[in-house]
């Protein structure tokens, strides 16, 4: 059968493979049914689909005959194109593919070569004067999360590791002897290498801990075999692996009930990535900020369907958290549903822009058999994570909008939903809070007595999620630029790290952990010089607040000791790594939906995030340069010495109504408004006092039908519209001052009233033009001098005559209702201020439909404050306008005229 299978593979006939798979599946089903009732079956359930196969060693011999460790490349390569799989897997590559010795810390874009200040250990580059991690020690140290292949089998030059001869000066073939502090040669042909461990992800219960034991002992060649411990295939006794003949058929293949191959489950992914809890019956517990679960430690993301309220985490107000940790986990999505193999015909989608524009769907997919033979192990990935490996695959994953029609689910309640979607990533509202703690700071500038750094966790008061109070934390919102160029606000956790750097012969390098410990510790106690500098209370111990490099004196004490070890120019650097948060999504009812969460002075959008409780003196940490986050905010020091990241939205071209405002606009506008109020109050008081002193003048009055009904209608409609527009606009501008009003409803009312105002203005313009009444509003520009003269007369009346009881200089008549001053004022108002305000408002309203137009005029950051300014001026006008209506024959006469149409006016003989 082996030869047949190989022949099949050679002929690449998918039909044959399919038939073989089907037959084997039926067989496996039948057999597994037959064995179902037997008590002696292994704990795992056998794979329902995968056919049986022989386990081969590196030579291609059956392991049962050779008693050698299993070779996954040989074994799985019987049917699958193992070489293709390994070469198409960033999980195998881990940065080896673009490893390039560099003056900077980072020689690649993956964990093989890219320095991680949390894990701290540094993979030394060739020629570095101090060996930190050799390839072998890197594997021992981080091998738990290395699935094999790539740097575990291949050297940086591309040659198999086993072909390298041991050379203590080459970090690929050396190992630091901790006793002597000197590198010694490492023999790869003796240790073996770690082939890509298919079992790690494709077995129901891979034995990672047994694998890790082999890796940490440097027995790399046994790692994949150790993964099978517990399946009944292999036993380990006294350090020797023995294959179990009972697990094999006479023809050397596995018995079907020992075939546990399956698609990767969430638990498989969890082994390296983070906290996954797939059994909702047991309360979930988390270890806080534990780098064994890197995704959870750095972001607080937990993949669990369980409701937070029934988990075992000691969360404050837990009873109210009647939602699952992750809605997608609750809805039974698997990691691989989004992070699928890129050529998986079930999920594959054409990358944007790779197919002709007229083609919606290309049916020429891989057949399932072809896919199974050569599955692309570059898994679809997002574009926001801190991982920089495999940049060519960024954005290959389906994102929220690939599955969800957000317009449909938001359009009916969220005003300006398109505008929101254009500015805010889905996660910003749908991941309102993280309920697991996450790392805030890793301070490797100091070491505790146990050799660990001073670190700080956010979202928890203490160290245990079951006994300390967990509070969770709100991610900070930062601008993320996607590969399509779109910039969105998205949630992040910021992890700040501080560490010592020295000048090595190849460039700056992080101080080795061993050197750092040597500087701080002598025989597991702090060195006297360190104690002298750090121990403020002289109790011989360094507590949390003392063990900080927060003064220059402390820093020099450490630097002196580092220099004594031969390190040049030791100094402290700081780095801020944004960790993107995309999981732990909440359903609509738990998402942020209250407008004032963002639209208020305490806006969520600009909520700062603490970076560190303290910073080493004189060191400002820098954001990493290789993330797609735009750092437009500021790093600020608080009074208590803590460092904060403060987002600044206006620098991103975002204007958040209710939060953002330009203070000089408000001051100027308020001054104009208050000035108008004071002016009319003063003028009115003087008029009143003057009227008391003199007798009522006998002025001849005449009752005239001044305003037609339509004039009154449009006037009052405009009055109410403007007043309510000003009022609702003010609420939108300063929502926290008007907490009783719903922001969302005010926006709706404002828009509706604006539409009414515009329609009313156009209709009344039409009426004025067609009736010829428009001429009343147009000053006689043919006689500019006359205009001015008349205005002066009117002004003089308001400043003088009105107090003496003089008659109005100009009669008010239906055919000439406006005095010269009114005429010029309305001319300005109706030709400049009102159209301007309408234009600004329309542009703001249209910002979501036609963002280019709004942006052409400066975007919301310009339009919105301008709109506020004009609103202030309109408000000031109304004050003056209303006051001047009281200057008629009697104070309320003009008002009555506008209500009834009939007004008593002076008649000049």
């Amino acid at each position: 059968m082996k030869t047949i299978l190989l022949t099949l593979t050679g002929r690449k006939n998918p039909l044959w493979i399919g038939l073989a798979l089907l037959t084997a599946a039926l067989l496996a089903l039948g057999v597994s049914h037959a064995f179902a009732s037997q008590a002696a079956t292994p704990a795992q359930t056998a794979s329902p689909l995968h056919p049986t196969f022989a386990l081969l060693d590196a030579e291609g011999k059956n392991v049962l005959e050779s008693s050698q460790p299993v070779s996954t490349m040989q074994t799985c390569g019987q049917c699958h194109d193992a070489a293709y799989i390994e070469s198409h897997s960033f999980h195998a590559d881990l940065g080896l593919g673009n490893y390039q010795p560099a003056a900077s810390f980072n020689a690649s874009n993956g964990i093989f070569g890219k320095w991680d200040p949390l894990l701290y250990r540094y993979l030394s580059q060739p020629g570095d004067d101090r060996l930190d991690l050799s390839t072998a020690e890197w594997l021992m140290k981080f091998g738990e999360r290395v699935p094999g292949g790539g740097p575990a089998t291949t050297s940086r030059t591309g040659a198999p590791l086993t072909q390298l001869s041991g050379d203590p000066s080459n970090p690929e073939t050396a190992l630091l002897n901790p006793a002597t502090g000197q590198p010694e040669a490492w023999d790869w042909s003796k240790s073996g290498v770690m082939e890509m461990d298919c079992f790690l992800c494709h077995l129901t219960q891979p034995n990672n801990s047994a694998r890790v034991i082999e890796i940490q002992s440097g027995r790399f060649g046994l790692a994949n075999t150790a993964t099978l411990l517990g399946t009944g295939l292999v036993e380990k006794t006294a350090g020797t692996f023995t294959w179990n003949p009972a697990a094999f058929e006479a023809d050397g293949k596995l018995k079907p009930e020992y075939v546990f191959i399956q698609d990767p489950t969430n638990n498989n992914c969890a082994a390296c990535h983070g906290e996954v809890h797939s059994n909702s019956k047991d309360p979930l517990t988390i270890s806080a900020c534990d780098l064994t679960y890197p995704q959870t430690a750095t972001t607080g993301q937990v993949i669990a369907a369980q409701k937070i309220s029934v988990s075992g985490v000691n969360l404050s107000a837990k009873d109210t958290l009647d939602r699952s940790w992750d809605i997608h986990a609750e809805r039974e999505l698997k990691c691989t549903d989004c992070h699928y193999a890129l050529n998986n015909p079930t999920h594959a989608q054409e990358a944007a822009g790779t197919s002709p524009t007229h083609l919606l769907y290309d049916p020429r997919k891989l057949e399932i058999g072809e896919y199974l033979q050569m599955p692309d192990h570059n898994l679809a990935r997002g574009q926001s994570a801190q991982f920089t490996v495999s940049p060519e695959n960024k954005g290959t994953m389906r994102r929220c909008e690939s599955c969800h029609d957000a317009a449909q689910s938001h359009g009916n309640w969220l005003p300006y939903s398109a505008q929101h979607m254009a500015v805010v990533a889905c996660e910003s509202c749908h991941i309102p809070k993280m309920y697991a703690p996450a790392i805030q700071t890793y301070d490797w500038t100091v070491v505790k007595l146990d050799g660990s750094p001073a670190n700080l966790c956010r979202g928890i008061n203490g160290g245990s999620t079951t006994t300390s109070l967990v509070t969770g934390f709100q991610p900070v919102l930062m601008q993320r630029t996607n590969i399509d160029g779109q910039t969105l606000l998205a949630p992040y956790n910021l992890v700040t790290s501080f560490y010592w750097v020295y000048d090595g012969n190849n460039g700056p390098r992080p101080v080795r952990e061993t050197d750092l410990k040597a500087a701080y510790l002598v025989e597991d106690q702090y060195a006297p010089e360190i104690l002298a500098a750090f121990d403020a209370d002289h109790n011989g111990q360094l507590d949390e607040t003392e063990l900080r490099t927060d003064t220059i004196e402390k820093q020099s004490a450490v630097a002196t000791r580092l220099e004594a070890l031969g390190l040049k120019n030791p100094h402290i650097e700081g780095q801020i790594q944004p960790y993107s948060i995309n999981h732990n999504v909440a359903r609509g009812e738990y998402a942020t939906s209250a407008c004032q969460t963002c639209h208020s002075s305490t806006s969520r959008v600009t909520q700062p995030m603490q970076l560190a409780a303290y910073a080493p003196a004189g060191v400002t940490p820098q954001f990493v340069s290789d993330s797609n986050v735009n750092v437009t905010g500021e790093i600020v020091s608080a009074a208590n010495g803590s460092l904060l990241y403060q987002p600044v939205t206006t620098q991103d071209g975002v204007y958040v109504f209710g939060r953002d405002r330009v203070s000089w606009v408000d001051w100027l506008g308020a001054l104009a408004f208050i000035g108008a109020l004071l002016g009319v109050a003063g003028h009115g008081t003087l008029r009143y006092l003057a009227a008391l002193k003199r007798p009522q003048p006998a002025v001849k009055l005449e009752k005239i039908y001044m305003y037609e009904s339509y004039e009154r209608f449009w006037h009052w409609l405009q009055t109410f519209s403007i007043v309510f527009l000003l009022f609702t606009g003010l609420i939108i501008h300063r929502p926290e001052m008007f907490g009783a009003f719903s922001f969302r409803y005010m926006v709706t009312i404002h828009n509706a009233l604006a539409a009414i105002l515009v329609i009313n203005a156009l209709l009344s313009l039409f009426w004025h033009v067609t009736t010829g009444e428009i001429h009343q509003y147009i000053p006689n520009f043919l006689k500019p001098a006359g205009i001015v003269d008349d205005m002066v007369v009117q002004v003089k009346f308001y400043l003088g005559g009105i107090f003496k009881g003089d008659v109005h200089p100009f009669e008010k008549r239906p055919e000439k209702k406006l005095n010269p001053l009114q005429q010029i004022t309305y001319f300005g108002l109706l030709n400049v201020l009102l159209p301007l305000q309408i234009l600004l408002g329309t542009l703001m309203w249209g910002a979501q439909q036609w963002p280019q137009v709004a942006n052409f005029f400066g975007g919301l950051p310009f339009l919105a404050p301008f709109h506020s300014l004009v609103a202030w001026l309109l408000g000031a006008f109304i004050i003056g306008h209303v006051y001047l209506t009281t200057t008629g024959a009697t104070p309320l006469e003009a008002m009555r005229g506008m209500i009834t149409g009939w007004e008593e006016v002076e008649t000049h003989e």
Binding site: S280, R331, W413, L717, S721, T748, A752, E893, I899, T900
Partner: protein, 488 residues
């Protein structure tokens, strides 16, 4: 200044011009479901009968001489219809309306304690001396009860209405030595405790029969039942009662149930109340109870297994594991229900004389419905498994006489118990018996949980799901294979 008031019309007109567009453009709130709070019951204070009852019996010198019938007679003076109404209900008749029995060629039969068996105490027939403690009447006569059932004076008002001082003794009569006048003075509308006396203790003890009804519901905590616990519902708030006809039928004693006579969640709750469309899509195939009753017997354990074959031994009695008179039991707490398609009816109800296959479990009842029945939904059941006696000669289930001086509980002689049954009930006994496994399904519909505690997706779907999809008729988990109404 004088302004005629017609300006108000202008003002109204202008405001209308402004308000109408605002209303049209108003953001739509989430779809309003009908208001379940409208169904929150008000419990008016019941008319105090203390003086009324005292007035009826003011000439009585020794209250202990007053009989139940005397009390009923007094009640009927003011409530003349009460007895005749009650006598039309199955609380009185102990049997259902007659059904045409499909598996007996259209023969008609009734089902009830009067004439059929279950797989708990098996049969009330012939054992009425004790069983009638839960019959709402006095003076049951073995064999001759037909006449007594016609007498309105035999209706036991106190059983449901007396709030204290009352309990039943033999043959449905009051226990000895009770002051029935005092008990009658406490009458009020039935409470959870009065209904529960029979319905919580059915099958011979607390929580025996129903997994979702037991004495913990007398004073229920908030998390035991959202209706009774959080909102203090009484039984009759859902089991609406008109003229003593209580709404809600136990399907185990019926074959088809008229939906109009049944209690349903939609009495108060709209079927499309879930804001989550994904959940709403379930409503066509999943009963409310399935998600909202994740488990039953939350506080008091319920009997899930009863093995009569081990009875009669002196191996030490324990209420929860073994009684000499009844055999071995298994009680369980926090029991996950069994899920079956259910359209509200039964497809089968074992009737005395029905042949069985003793090598296979016999279903005492079978919920009707399957995946192809559009009216059926997946519904939670308590499955009670028993080993009970059958006639190895005639291959049908037997109904032993257990009570009384000649009964099994006195003599521990099965043969004698079956012979007695032949005499009293007419169920022929061949002379040899064995024990066979029987299954009985009990719908689970109380101990409803608020949404916080309702099942989540992964309770049923995915690798750890509780549903046996294949047994329900699906090709596989419908989250992947599609639901029964999907065209996948």
């Amino acid at each position: 200044m004088k302004v005629k008031p017609y300006w108000i019309l202008g003002l109204i007109g202008i405001l209308a011009v402004m308000i109408v567009p605002v209303i049209v453009l108003w953001p739509k709130a989430a779809p309003a479901s009908n208001d379940p709070w409208a169904g929150i019951p008000q419990h008016p204070v019941h008319v105090d009968h203390k003086d009324i009852v005292a007035g009826k019996f003011k000439n009585v010198t020794d209250p202990l001489t007053v009989t139940g019938q005397d009390i009923t007679t007094a009640c009927l003076e003011c409530h003349p219809q009460a007895a005749s109404d009650l006598m039309m209900t199955s609380h009185w008749t102990w049997e259902s309306q007659p059904f045409e029995i499909p598996w007996r060629n259209g023969e008609t039969a009734t089902i009830g304690k009067l004439n059929q068996i279950n797989n708990f105490c098996i049969s009330a027939q012939g054992n009425q001396k004790s069983c009638t403690a839960c019959h709402v009447g006095y003076n049951w006569q073995e064999g001759g009860q037909a006449e007594n059932l016609k007498d309105p004076k035999n209706v036991d008002c106190l059983m449901c209405h007396a709030q204290s001082g009352y309990s039943k003794g033999k043959y449905g009569n009051p226990a000895d030595g009770l002051n029935l006048v005092a008990a009658a003075q406490t009458v009020a509308a039935p409470t959870r405790a009065t209904c529960g006396k029979c319905h919580f203790d059915g099958g011979g003890g607390n929580g025996v029969k129903h997994g979702d009804l037991d004495e913990s519901l007398i004073y229920p905590s908030e998390n035991l039942d959202v209706h009774m616990g959080r909102n203090n519902f009484l039984c009759t708030d859902c089991h609406v009662t008109t003229d003593h006809q209580v709404k809600g039928r136990i399907v185990a004693d019926n074959i088809t149930v008229n939906p109009a006579e049944q209690v349903s969640c939609t009495q108060c709750h709209s079927e499309d109340l879930h804001s989550d469309q994904r959940i709403s899509l379930h409503v066509k195939s999943v009963a409310c109870q399935t998600c909202h009753i994740p488990a039953m017997a939350l506080e008091d354990p319920t009997k899930v297994n009863w093995d009569w074959s081990t009875s009669g031994q002196d191996i030490g009695d324990d209420h929860y594991t073994y009684l000499k008179i009844k055999g071995s039991f298994v009680y369980e707490k926090n029991v996950q229900p069994t899920y079956k398609w259910f359209n509200g009816n039964l497809s089968y109800r074992y009737l005395l004389g029905d042949p069985i296959d003793p090598t296979q479990p016999t279903y005492i009842d079978q919920p009707a419905g399957d995946i192809n029945d559009a009216n059926a939904k997946i519904f939670p059941f308590k499955l009670h498994v028993a080993k009970q006696p059958y006639d190895t000669g005639f291959n049908y289930l037997l109904a032993p006489i257990t009570a009384g001086p000649e009964g099994y509980w006195t003599n521990f002689d099965w043969n004698n118990a079956f012979k007695l049954a032949e005499e009293r009930m007419g169920l022929k006994y061949s002379g040899s018996y064995g024990f066979t496994e029987t299954y009985m399904y009990w719908p689970t519909t109380h101990m409803v949980q608020p949404k916080e505690n309702a099942l989540q997706c992964d309770a049923c779907h995915g690798e750890n799901g509780r549903m046996d999809w294949k047994a329900l008729g699906y090709p596989g988990d419908p989250i992947q294979w599609g639901g029964r109404f999907d065209k996948k």
